[in-house]
Point group: C2
């Protein structure tokens, strides 16, 4: 059965008072604490959009470039694209395939299926905590299993607060054809990543044709308007007002099969 | 000088009470009336996201398929993709180039530069008004000049309400790599389509690398969560809470130069 979704007016707001996370931090506990301090009561049907960087930090997905040993393939590709070979080694380790590359551009199919620049490996905001900066530069990799991270956070909040929220782990993706990045969902728990409206009828009682919207990606985009980038103290954004039936689909359902992708 | 943008908490809500529009309707007057009836006071810095379908209806961009004469090129392509040749003729008339095609799929570069299925020509929700249904089927084309439509609406609201809102004309786009449609901006006035944060620093005082976000597309995605598709009575969504410097850029700045697009 298709989940039913009704969308009323939305509020989109950042959870205030979160720290910059470090490896080992308890993200759920931090959210519970921040909500309590700001007198925000999370509700069933709230969706929490959490930046992948915050999740990666808590999960320790931070690597000092100095620790990386480069393969011959990484050295060759680094030479071709003009990037640090250690960075390319890490990117290839996160990738199932190279999609396109060029001068200073390396677009890959991440091991989890989505296509993005550098498989999400990010050097822009990675320096850790003051005591360890001397060993930098460091880079941040995406979470090992963002769907599991989303489910874990959802379960922890259910245990600690008694609410069943939806969780979307977000990243910023570039796109073919269009400039600028947009928020995208790389991990999902609780809400349907795709909102399938086929079979519903339009205002004139005809069946809708193109009617599967990327609900989780649009939640990520709305949250990114509030979270911004480089603004890790807005790492958790609450999207309030969506009504959705619970879904156990992960973000993988958003990925088009490469064999059926005219741009693969 | 780069516009400065600060993003506080957002509210995203549909303007209630709008009609299904017909050719010749005055969109600005309808918005003024709907806002008054629902006691909503529009503000400077509100962004109005308006579906392209509502704009196209008001502007009469509705064509009866029976009126279309097919070129040889349309007949050939229609045979190749398995679509109605009259529909293909209209699509080609709106297109600068075919990007990809396949069985029941025709992805084109619209004459305005963006890449989308069928150049936005839509048969799903087109039937007009009861008196004219007998002459259907009809299809809706995108507005002739969505940036001009956005500017016209902005100017009319400034005259009638004394507020300077941002306007985004939205459509739903499919995408390479990912399933499901997302809201995209095809016309913009007032707010910067791209939010350029290069030169700003991250939490650790390093310059951000990937820091141009597609502000207008993310506004469109957030609005689409509320507007849905096939829900033309939610044709105007107010996104409240963005702070932005005025910009005169149109939606064209969101389109990547095909010569620099690895997926063109």
């Amino acid at each position: 059965m298709k989940p039913r979704i009704r969308c009323d007016d939305l509020e989109v707001f950042a959870l205030p008072g979160l720290p910059v996370f470090s490896p080992g931090d308890d993200l759920a506990a931090a959210i519970v604490n921040a909500a309590a301090c700001s007198q925000i009561t999370l509700r069933d049907d709230d969706v929490l959009a959490v930046t992948s960087k915050a999740v990666s930090r808590c999960e320790g997905r931070i690597v000092p470039l100095a620790s990386v040993t480069c393969s011959a393939a990484a050295l060759r590709l680094a030479d071709e694209v003009g990037k640090d070979a250690r960075l390319v080694e890490l990117i290839l380790g996160e990738s199932a395939a190279v999609s396109r590359c060029g001068p200073n551009v390396l677009i890959t199919r991440h091991r989890l299926g989505f296509v993005t620049a550098n498989s999400g490996v990010d050097a822009s905001n990675a320096v850790l905590v003051s005591g360890r900066e001397a060993h930098g530069p460091w880079v941040i990799l995406l979470p090992i299993d963002p769907d599991a991270s989303a489910l874990g956070l959802r379960n922890a909040l259910r245990e600690q607060l008694g609410v069943d929220v939806g969780v979307v782990i977000t990243d910023s993706f570039g796109r073919p054809f269009r400039l600028g990045t947009v928020g995208a969902a790389i991990g999902v728990s609780g809400l349907p990543p795709l909102w399938d409206k086929r079979g519903e009828v339009d205002l004139f009682e005809r069946a809708l044709e193109q009617t599967i919207t990327a609900l989780a990606d649009q939640v990520a985009a709305a949250a990114d308007l509030v979270a911004g980038q480089g603004a890790e103290r807005r790492a958790v954004v609450v999207v309030r007002g969506l009504k959705f039936a619970r879904s156990e689909d992960g973000a993988g359902v958003l990925c088009r099969d490469p064999a059926r992708d005219l741009y693969a």
